[in-house]
Symmetry: D2
Subunit: 349 residues, 4 copies
């Protein structure tokens, strides 16, 4: 930690900075560059609360020489985390995990039809919401428990892994036994109560980046899960708040290589929410893969114009099949491959 | 609702739009302007899910002629909501409610000292957190239940109203009996489980705007509370995510007059989080008041450089006293006044 | 154009809206949906100034049914513009144009070495600045006229096309005779004097998106060039202002498919400015290509650590060669190909 | 300057950093904090190009201990700059300069009527554009030279100072002899050719912040003017690009106290562009004043609904008069006062 001092601070004010560091049992050194001065904390800065230093009159700014997160940092664990999933599937290695499905579970017919389309095109996991966080109280809020039962049914028939969202602790208790991967949505990225509960559940967690979250914020939220003893976190870029109406969000693919350099955790991308427009999903799915994403989350609906949510950004099953072809080509060009779905029999057996 | 059609859509595709509207039992009219066409839905659009229309191939965009929220809309209730608080205090009328205090309850000595400073300077409510949502799992997370007890003690001594945050449903059950106003923090603005629980609690709710929330998002979150039967919602602008390092957030004071025109709910401003820098708090508190805020939320700490959180943006008690003087001057210049705190005896009696 | 009326506007106020439209010689129709009303302008809205309508007391908002630009709109010209360049090269068709080189021309040795590296790896155009717009007056401002001479020399030796920036009208008079493509930088995207002059020059123009420009703003700036009689405009996404420090800009690849649907003009991407970090350039160059970009602008420097500008985001020549290999693979996977550079002899002959 | 080293960099790579600093004739010191290392440059960092250091493989990040600007920095000149204007008016001291008028000069009748309204309400300067930078080539582009003549006429009659925009060097040659203050618009904030020319002109310059400009960017642009020998720069906050449709821009009033702490230059605010909506202009004008602005730029039009540009954000003359009353009250409450206009006779004499 380097504490930049105000150029007009007095000697007494600067002394208070040094004393505060020393009172925490740490050493420090005052350094001077031109007419500016700074205090360098010599040892592990974790023992020092920057908020307290920031409040001192002499302090202009604080530069952290270490990252504020630890367990998720590549600095502390250089090799990538490979999250192991049922059926021998993994995420974080050479294989690309394609997760697809409708925004919400709507009916048995709809979810089975969607699951078959995903399976046929070569997707490995089915994603659909039973509990739906919706901006408006008047929007469809999901089928709840019944939706979870339908997801189990779809898994039995197709062998696809199930990815579905938990909105709160009570919901997590219902979702965790059914889901192969529990999703924590963008709006809940800093719902720390839910993050800790997901950590305790031990289930693989798909953690979506919030629309105003810096990568540091995202990684600190993942750290909440890891500190509860659960290392199986998959990050997800899904677009941040932008200013251009041509897309629903500003899809920040820079986050993919940036997170790869900062953390050992896998990261996937969601071009459906990242764009919000069906016609933009295939090019941006290709782009995310080319940028190095470990997987993709794509909305597909058997009949998008009858979808109860997110129809405008859901692909038709035929579009998804074409896209999967293209994705296989791009994966090959960068030395990766799309993970094949496990056999359906594997589930029942 | 006006549905803009793609200029290259076919007659059959356009027909599907009309049929979908009619199948919901609504009338519509196709209108043409130059070479563009659109379909106008003639009746209450609430019965029609825009997501389903958006998914149709002919649809380019949808323009809502009504707001997506109802109970919070000024359109539906022109007169301002005045939230009634204990001791005859109100918010939403001519009086300005000044809420002040440290970020967190840290100890009996600290909170009592803070409360006395706030009372002395003329603040009417004490705000401090017992349960603290923190970006990092390594930061101070609050005293919890013990913090609530200390807040009760501070109220008994000073008569100040208590404003404190609930992070989840379980916490709300603890907080609601103690708090005069329950705060829902920016990170939980779209924690719909918590919003509904706060609605059921019946307590006045202070709802802070999330860092990427549009005003429509904020008002829809308030709508969640109102639909549960609780009309006592106070909105709060506290800064959105910005790109300039000179301040912690981009303090969006435009939100004050904009919300006033869209909604009948009171709105206050939090210049401490809106700026993140102590020296910027007094000018921006003055600005928020001049922009029409119904109240202010200001961090004050007896010894900011010993604060366990947010010390850099907390005022010294003397600064707060000076600021209150200035605020009284500005309130007078725009025909309002700072609400006086209730007598301490009122509580004990 | 649809003019939404305020729900509390009077009949007289609404009449003024109708009269203003009729006084411009246009027809209109008042339409009603639920409790909201609107006025629809029936003919070409180009003859009506929205600013004047917006100022009327009854007007709440205006929805444009047509785009504000015309000549650049795909709506008016469905087939893509293919810009023809010297040596039979094109941009906007199946071929991908890779433009590469150092940020600035620094010396004969440097620019020739850079040009040879670009040529060897298979790039088709050399980009380097002679006139440099720099945020700080103390930063290197370019070699000026001498830089242009060195670019001519590099073209003679390698056959590469030359792309270089003009900062103002006077500079354009110097740059246009030398450049094969004239660049207008992000900071000058709304320098309308320069845009008009570039339109009059008739040279192909590479127009970079400004850091806060919506796609509508970008297309309107292109429209300035086209209205002067120059149809040869190439758009460029180079990142918008973001809030995360992990990259220099927020690289908005959504702009690629979005612009393709709105306009017939070609669009390329600049992953060097889009990321600002060398290690992020190769993955994001791949991503831009996969998203459908018609070309790439990549900073390469023979010795990045001696660069006078942008060294941190410049690739080493060996990295650029590896990247070109990957780009050829991705182009193949999506049915496109990297344009081969023309023969050097073609220039001299 | 502090150069943070990558934790996985080799000793040889770190050596290159030290050698590059020493080869510039500067001393440095390697410092270690926990497991992180950094190199501190001991002397004036102005002699070292950070771009070159940034490009070295060992360098993770660079922290500047000094600001990149000098002449505009409060650090170098603690007392505020007071710009002296004709008629004994000033900006930057206790007086608040209110500049008002229509967006564009449209006709003799319009500008004289506007000027009289401004004068009557107590404004000290008239602002209107003769040369108008417009996003669309189809929008009204101003009366040009004739507009300047009408502004002179308005000054003769009312004594108001004239503020008007120059879009390019040629325009500056026309504008400078007429204007009392030359405006450089937001879109031209980084038009360095224009900034240098404005510096050479010696006229007071009103420099508006660009919609994506950090405060550092703004101050560096001002530095361009000062380095040409012109110290008379007035900065202006007018809103940055936001994501909420309720206002045209995100009006960043935090910029007012932040600039005051970073620079000695005066700063004013433009609530008309900062909000884009007439009803929001008065509250936000009050807010800007309360935040510490040295002046205000307010659009007023004799008949806003006939304005050729910006009608929706222009006040009616009666509204402006009421607002001036409120502003006088707020100025008084914070120990400042609204500057009175000079006598008209002063001009003619």
């Amino acid at each position: 930690m380097l504490i930049l001092l105000k150029s007009d601070s007095s000697a007494a004010e600067r002394d208070r900075v040094v004393r505060q560091i020393e009172s925490a049992g740490l050493g420090c050194q005052t350094i001077v560059s031109g007419h500016r001065a700074a205090v360098l904390v010599l040892e592990a800065e974790g023992r020092l609360d920057p908020a307290r230093l920031h409040a001192l009159p002499a302090v202009e700014d604080i530069v952290h020489l270490s990252k504020p997160y630890r367990m998720v940092a590549r600095e502390w664990r250089p090799e990538p985390t490979i999250v192991r999933l049922p059926g021998g599937l993994t995420i974080g290695g050479a294989d690309i995990l394609v997760i697809a499905g409708p925004c919400s579970v709507e009916s048995e017919k709809q979810i089975l039809s969607a699951a078959r389309s995903v399976r046929r095109a070569g997707g490995a996991a089915l994603r659909a919401g039973a509990f739906k966080p919706r901006t408006s109280p008047y929007a469809f809020q999901g089928l709840g428990t019944q939706g979870l039962e339908l997801l189990s049914l779809a898994r039995e028939e197709t062998g696809l892994l199930i990815v579905t969202e938990a909105m709160d602790e009570a919901g997590l208790d219902e979702v965790a036994p059914v889901a192969d991967i529990v999703q924590i949505g963008a709006r809940n990225m800093q719902n720390f109560t839910l993050l800790k509960a997901a950590g305790r559940s031990g289930k693989p967690v798909l953690l979506k980046r919030g629309p105003a979250a810096s990568l540091t914020d995202l990684l600190l939220s993942a750290e909440y899960v890891l500190t509860e003893g659960n290392p199986n976190v998959i990050l997800c870029e899904r677009g941040v708040r932008g200013f251009d109406g041509a897309a629903r969000n500003l899809f920040d693919l820079n986050a993919i290589p940036a997170v790869k350099s900062l953390s050992h955790l896998p990261i996937i991308a969601d071009p459906s929410h990242g764009t919000g427009r069906r016609a933009m999903v295939p090019p941006m799915a290709r782009a995310a893969l080319a940028a190095g994403a470990d997987g993709l989350l794509i909305e597909v609906h058997p009949r998008p114009d009858e979808a109860l949510s997110d129809g405008a950004q859901s692909l038709y099953p035929e579009q998804f099949e074409l896209l999967m072809e293209e994705l296989r080509g791009i994966a090959g060009a960068i030395g990766r491959r799309i993970a094949a779905p496990r056999a359906a029999a594997g589930v029942i057996a």
